[in-house]
């Protein structure tokens, strides 16, 4: 029988579990932000000594998701050189990929919001040649997870329960803290392979 892990204290977990910091204005001529939902507040809370000059060299890619237009006017008031809002993470990632394809060394990348957004944007940035260790991140909002089923390899987005049913193959998965930067997902492993009649109750723990 497998114990269900709690996600209340992600900091005290295994080494592959991503850690997030606080955004801080870096030293560069180009700044690129990617944020979703409450991630906007991380940008707004960041201390910037010479804000008008800083944002005149900044590009913000923002996906409001459930937050609607709660943060839009505040973000627009930063007067970034470029400001883009998109309907989904997938569309924003396309824009991120295109932006990075012509970007130069020295670019500072800031990711803020849900783990799913941070992980997928980091995946795009790593594929564009950035070192994950130099990308700034700040987690805000939902703790919902992107989970890859180790059996069928399908990815289930916005997982909030433990265990979770794989949206592809239907197996009941234990969501582990084991994380892959390459896939940008947590690992989900069948929780009842030995005894399919064992069906633990789903608890909503990734809120």
């Amino acid at each position: 029988m497998v114990a269900i892990m709690s996600d209340d204290t992600p900091e005290k977990s295994i080494i592959s579990r991503p850690m997030y910091g606080r955004l801080s204005a870096g030293n560069s001529t180009h700044h690129l932000f990617v944020a979703d939902a409450e991630g906007a507040q991380a940008i707004l809370d960041m201390q910037v000594p010479n804000a008008s000059e800083f944002y005149s060299r900044a590009h913000i890619i923002y996906i409001p998701r459930d937050s609607g237009n709660r943060y839009l006017s505040s973000l627009q008031a930063l007067n970034a050189k470029q400001f883009y809002t998109g309907p989904s993470i997938a569309t924003a990632l396309q824009r991120l990929q295109q932006t990075l394809s012509t970007a130069h060394m020295g670019l500072q990348l800031y990711l803020a919001g849900t783990e799913g957004l941070i992980g997928q944007a980091m995946q795009v940035a790593m594929n564009a040649g950035m070192d994950y260790a130099v990308i700034q991140t700040e987690h805000r909002g939902s703790r919902a997870r992107r989970v890859q089923c180790v059996h069928c390899k399908g990815i289930t987005e916005d997982v909030t329960t433990q265990p979770v049913t794989c949206s592809h193959c239907g197996l009941l998965l234990l969501v582990r803290d084991h994380y892959s930067r390459r896939i940008a997902a947590f690992q989900g492993v069948c929780i009842n392979a030995e005894d399919p009649s064992y069906v633990p109750e789903k608890q909503e723990i990734f809120k």
Partner: protein, 321 residues
């Protein structure tokens, strides 16, 4: 002596003058077997028995990492130096046996890079010779900017230009040509790694301009072997060995410790690798730190010293060695 890495017995199989200052030395293993594999950027420490004195100087391997039938190093003669380069130039002959260390790489390529941007100054070209051979063999993207005093002193410039063509950019001081570091750094695609080897001023300029332009530390690589500076003789108490030694004017602290028969750790002997880091028990005077290893805070604390390049002025220095 067991400190440092394992040793290799080699024969000097070729010595070639490259210009008025630089000679190239080729080594093959005395037992005829292939030499150990190495990666571009690695160096070996050459042992030089000069009368009763033992010199141990690091030199970058410049031969191709793809060919381990021999190693090659280049030695620039320094008439004002401590004598290691003069020993190599004047006393080493083809057919001589030498002892060298296994290769150690403190200037390794980051092979995840989409492009390798290399800046060399003078004899700092040597590690890049091996790195370019390695990168060219696997089709990697690189570009070398090489600054020399003059055409006649530009070691290997013609050879690499002929071989690597448009990847090589040459600059001659006496013709008023200089590498435009800031322009070079400002237009590099994401995933570029920068490497610099040359005089201190060049390394400092590249590192500081890259950092100011937002390059992460992880993407900035440099190598400078510091020659142990000469200075006033000083006394050192080695507490663990219960010995008091005097470090001579032209001797490094590490060499004096070794001369007293103490097996002290080392790898690069040039202030870069951190292997010889030693705890200071007491310091009645001032330490003259010359390494790249300890932080500024550690230098100020007077609790650590790198005996390969750093010295002391004062009454007595006591080390945990």
């Amino acid at each position: 002596m067991s400190a440092g890495t394992g040793k290799l017995d080699v024969l000097v199989t070729d010595i070639k003058p490259i210009n008025t200052l630089v000679k190239r030395f080729q080594f093959e293993r005395a037992d005829g077997r292939p030499l150990p594999n190495f990666s571009g950027g690695a160096h070996v420490v050459v042992e030089m028995k000069d009368d009763d004195r033992m010199r141990l100087n690091p030199y970058s391997l410049m031969s191709s990492p793809l060919d381990t039938s021999h190693y090659a190093i280049s030695v620039r003669r320094d008439d004002q130096g401590r004598g290691g380069s003069l020993f190599m130039h004047n006393q080493v002959a083809v057919g001589d046996r030498l002892v060298i260390s296994y290769p150690v790489n403190l200037f390794a390529l980051d092979l995840r890079a989409s492009k390798h941007l290399m800046l060399a100054g003078g004899i700092g070209i040597t590690p890049f010779m091996a790195q370019m051979a390695q990168l060219a063999a696997n089709g990697s993207n690189f570009e070398l900017h090489y600054s020399c005093r003059s055409r006649s002193l530009a070691s290997y410039a013609q050879e690499i230009s002929a071989h690597y063509d448009h990847r090589i950019h040459l600059y001659y001081d006496d013709e008023g040509q200089q590498i435009d570091i800031s322009t070079l750094l400002s237009g590099q695609a994401l995933g570029t790694q920068v490497y610099v080897c040359g005089p201190r001023g060049m390394i400092d300029a590249v590192c500081s301009q890259a950092t100011a332009a937002g390059w992460p530390d992880q993407a900035i690589h440099f190598e400078e072997f510091i020659t142990p500076p000469t200075g006033k003789p000083f006394k050192v108490r080695l507490a663990r060995s219960d010995k008091t030694i005097t470090v001579g004017e032209h001797q490094s602290l590490l060499e004096a410790i070794e001369a007293a028969g103490i097996d002290a750790p080392y790898l690069c002997r040039g202030g870069a690798c951190g292997q010889c880091e030693t705890d200071v028990l007491s310091c009645d005077g001032s330490m003259l730190h010359n390494d790249h290893w300890l932080t500024e805070d550690q230098h100020a604390s007077e609790k650590k010293i790198m005996p390969c390049v750093s010295r002391f002025e004062g009454e007595l220095l006591e080390l945990d060695r």
